[in-house]
């Protein structure tokens, strides 16, 4: 009896450890041969349970499409990768943010500096283009010559008959006309408005008697304005470079009349 008990107990323990179908089949067969029908039955139930479990797994596998299974696996892997790289990814993001901040800081610094100390390229060019008093005077003379070129040309073409006609019409002004025509080459445009006013008077008369339109040559206002600006620039430059007294300024100031080279 005790032997039977021990044998059954041992077989029960053995049955607990068996997990595959083949071993369970063998166990059931042996148990039957030994007269342990209950254990054989228990083994067969276990086989049935294993089969049920297996079939349910197969069913799940069959009803879950392959791509879904792969997706589940990939998703699991992606999650795992994300988890294990969390630290390094965090450091990469931090580095990116730090770099962007540093670049923005440098750019802002440059911008602020440009706003507070406006030394621009155009200013550098302007400084480079800043001309000396001599250069400005030379430019002024050239502009003046250009402006007076046409009026002088017309006045030089004035014939003796035309002079006579003018003198007859304006007897009081006849001496001034002769003086101007004799010293025509010496006239400068230092006071352009005055020169043009006087020249205009004679040229207008010539235009009338010749039937010509000399208005363009005589009244070139943009050029006169350019000359006036140039003159202001020269005066300003002169004051900068050679500070003079009030009396000197009065003396140096361009004459309010026709300037004649000495």
């Amino acid at each position: 009896m005790s032997h039977e008990f021990n044998e059954k107990g041992l077989l029960q323990e053995e049955l607990k450890s068996i997990t595959n179908e083949k071993d369970l089949e063998k166990f059931a067969s042996d148990a039957e041969d030994l007269g342990h029908d209950e254990l054989a039955k228990e083994a067969r139930e276990k086989i049935e349970n294993l089969k049920k479990d297996l079939s349910s797994k197969i069913e799940i596998a069959e009803t879950t499409p392959a791509y879904q299974q792969e997706a589940i696996k990939e998703s699991e892997n992606a999650e795992k990768v994300s988890e294990i790289t969390k630290d390094v990814d965090g450091r990469i993001d931090k580095l990116k943010a730090e770099t962007e901040a540093k670049i923005a800081e440098v750019q802002n610094e440059g911008q602020n500096q440009a706003e507070t100390t406006p030394v621009t390229n155009s200013e550098v060019i302007e400084k480079k283009e800043e001309k000396s008093f001599e250069e400005l005077s030379e430019e002024y003379t050239k502009i003046g010559e250009k402006i007076l070129e046409a009026p002088k040309r017309i006045l030089r073409s004035m014939t003796q008959d035309e002079i006579k006609l003018y003198s007859q019409k304006y007897p009081n002004e006849a001496p001034y006309l002769n003086e101007m025509l004799n010293g025509l080459d010496k006239f400068r445009a230092e006071n352009s408005s005055f020169v043009f006013e006087n020249f205009s008077k004679y040229i207008k008369f010539l235009g009338e008697i010749r039937g010509e339109d000399y208005s363009k040559e005589v009244l070139s206002f943009p050029e006169v304005e350019a000359l006036r600006l140039k003159q202001s620039e020269i005066v300003s430059k002169q004051n900068e470079t050679t500070p003079v007294t009030n009396s000197e300024v009065t003396e140096e100031k361009p004459a309010e009349g026709i300037a004649i080279e000495k």
């Binding site: 294990i84 390094v88 770099t99």
Partner: protein
Amino acid sequence: MTPQEQAKKIEEIYNEAIKKLDELSKERKSIVGNYIKELEAQKMDAIRASILEDK
């Protein structure tokens, strides 16, 4: 700071960032590489277990 100095500083910041990112990239690659090795080992174990089960 002159525009040239500013450009130099920006270049330095980018170069430093590239260097650090390169190191972090290697580190990340190494982590993922180790995980792949782990998966390979698991795969081999699973195949081995499956073959043994059939026997």
